[in-house]
């Protein structure tokens, strides 16, 4: 679980079954394990009202784990982007009583939460659990471009090429951490680049 540093830095919890009429899960890769761990303590029949949207990692693992829970609906996407229309459609048609559970990488949790917020769900009522990679979704504060799966500190902006310090300053609205140029005074100054978010 990520430590709290500055106030905007998201803090994640542990998924737990909430009272509700329908349950929507969005997860990637090892986020599936957060769902199956939660399922062990869920009331009987809990998944008969559940809809699971899952984006497996490169290894394609954990699909069978989720299918074994027998959710009412199960959708498997290649990328978050390909799953997003389905997520948005689900939220648009939903009624109060739908509960949302997000698990996996920070990028997945943040982007799915962004869609949920747009649909009118308060972020405090969304269950989250971080699992797997610490890779960050980063916005370059200079060109506003988003770079996915940032694992190093500093990191290079995929759009404008600036070398950025990846801050803990997080924007819920755009679901990304802020990256600020680390060598604005002298571009030839290249600090050591470390694997910070494996």
């Amino acid at each position: 679980m990520a430590a709290k540093s500055i106030i905007s830095r998201p803090v994640y919890g542990t998924l737990s079954p909430q009272p509700g009429k329908h349950h929507l899960f969005v997860a990637d890769a090892e986020g599936a394990l957060a769902i199956s761990d939660m399922a062990a303590g869920a009331p009987a029949g809990f998944f008969s009202d559940a809809h699971v949207i899952f984006i497996p990692g490169h290894d394609g693992k954990h699909v069978a784990t989720l299918e074994a829970l027998k959710p009412a609906q199960f959708y498997q996407g290649h990328t978050f982007a390909s799953a997003l229309p389905r997520l948005k459609q689900t939220l648009a048609n939903a009624h109060m009583g739908l509960r949302v559970y997000l698990s996996g990488t920070e990028g997945l949790i943040g982007q799915a939460m962004q869609a949920a917020l747009e649909a009118g769900i308060d972020h405090t009522s969304i269950q989250t659990e971080h699992r797997g990679s610490l890779a960050r979704r980063m916005q370059c504060v200079h060109c506003k471009g988003i770079t996915e799966n940032v694992t190093t500190q500093p990191a290079t902006c995929a759009h404008c090429g600036l070398l950025l310090l990846v801050r803990d300053h997080y924007s819920r609205r755009i679901a990304a951490f802020q990256g600020v140029c680390i060598n604005a005074e002298d571009r030839s100054e290249i600090p050591p680049i470390e694997e910070a978010f494996p």
């Binding site: 909430q18 009272p19 509700g20 009429k21 329908h22 939220l91 648009a92 939903a94 009624h95 109060m96 009583g97 739908l98 509960r99 649909a119 009118g120 769900i121 308060d122 405090t124 009522s125």
Partner: protein, 321 residues
């Protein structure tokens, strides 16, 4: 006279009987200026100088927040209550100079909501008068379900129907009309916030069903002005101010503390806002907690009390004040 909130010097500009139980009061500032801005759901505390006794009762502002030339409240007469509403009905006439608090809002709209679902019972309609006016002015999406005993006691039901037509649904107890709550709650679009104001039983029913049907607590807003309950008289020692005082049968602990010249903070005087929370230094006896603020654990601990609505029965009670 109190640290509750800043005070406003007002004059009663009109008194209008609404039905058998309810009367409306209009206040303007004595200096002719505009009153402070407020938002739908706000209340003011009205000071009533009744002989040697000062009563302080909270009432929701029911006028449109867009008009601050006057404040309006509606008071339901309670013949068996502690006398505040009777004082308003019997003694308050146009021209009377009164003191009221600045508005305080403990029941505000969450303007991030996609839709506002409002449930009112009886005189619980008053905060919604202001909230619907506010939302209607900005094109907000709302729907109000209003239960009343009979059509003639449906305070402002006709006004609301006239203004908002089908966004208002009425239910009359004498015709055995009842809100189909589960169906209503289950068919609301995502992003709806729920607001309920009415008798305690109605609020509890709505909150319980909403929680069971999966409404997150952040989306459920309620307001209940619990009038202080009478009870056996008891004695209290106030440690900081070094006073020992008696709380009468019909007096709240907060009122007794104020009468003794101590100036405790307050906002709602109804056991919900937390402002008057007071530490208990020692006690020998049992608390009668009537508030909605302290946790059950706080209630059991015997270390805290909300003097606006809660009482005590026993040998001794020492409070920090």
């Amino acid at each position: 006279m109190s640290t509750g909130t800043t005070k406003l010097d007002v004059v009663v500009s009109d008194v209008v009987p609404v039905n058998d139980l309810v009367t409306r009061f209009h206040f303007r500032r004595r200096d002719g200026e505009l009153l402070p801005t407020f938002s739908g759901g706000a209340h003011v505390v009205v000071e009533m100088r009744d002989g040697g006794r000062t009563r302080l009762n909270p009432y929701s502002l029911m006028g449109s927040p867009l008009d601050t030339s006057e404040y309006t409240i509606s008071v339901r007469r309670d013949d068996v209550g502690r006398g505040g509403s009777l004082f308003m009905h019997r003694n308050v006439r146009p021209g009377l100079e009164m003191v009221i608090s600045y508005p305080v809002n403990l029941f505000s709209l969450d303007l991030r909501a996609k839709k506002h679902l409002m449930l009112a019972g009886g005189i619980g309609i008053t905060p919604f008068m202001a909230q619907t006016a506010q939302l209607a002015a900005e094109g907000g999406n709302f729907e109000l379900h209003y239960t009343c005993r009979t059509a003639s006691l449906g305070t402002y039901a006709d006004v609301l129907r006239e203004r908002y037509d089908r966004r208002i649904r009425l239910y009359h107890d004498d015709r055995e009309e009842r809100i189909e709550l589960d169906r209503l709650l289950s068919t609301q679009p995502l992003g709806t916030h729920l607001y309920v104001c009415g008798p305690a039983g109605m609020i509890n029913w709505v909150r319980d069903r909403a929680a069971a049907l999966g409404w997150p607590p952040e989306t459920v807003h309620f307001e209940h002005f619990a009038a202080p309950q009478p009870g056996l008289p008891f004695d209290v020692t106030l440690a900081v101010s070094g006073k020992t005082i008696r709380v009468d049968e019909q007096q709240s602990l907060l009122e007794a503390i104020e009468a003794a010249g101590v100036d405790p903070p307050y906002l709602c005087r109804g056991g919900v806002c937390g402002q008057c929370e007071t530490n208990v230094i020692s006690h020998d006896g049992k608390f009668i907690h009537n508030d909605h603020w302290l946790s059950e654990e706080d209630h059991r601990s015997g270390c805290k009390i909300m003097p606006c609505v809660s009482r005590f029965e026993g040998k001794s009670l020492v409070l920090e004040r």
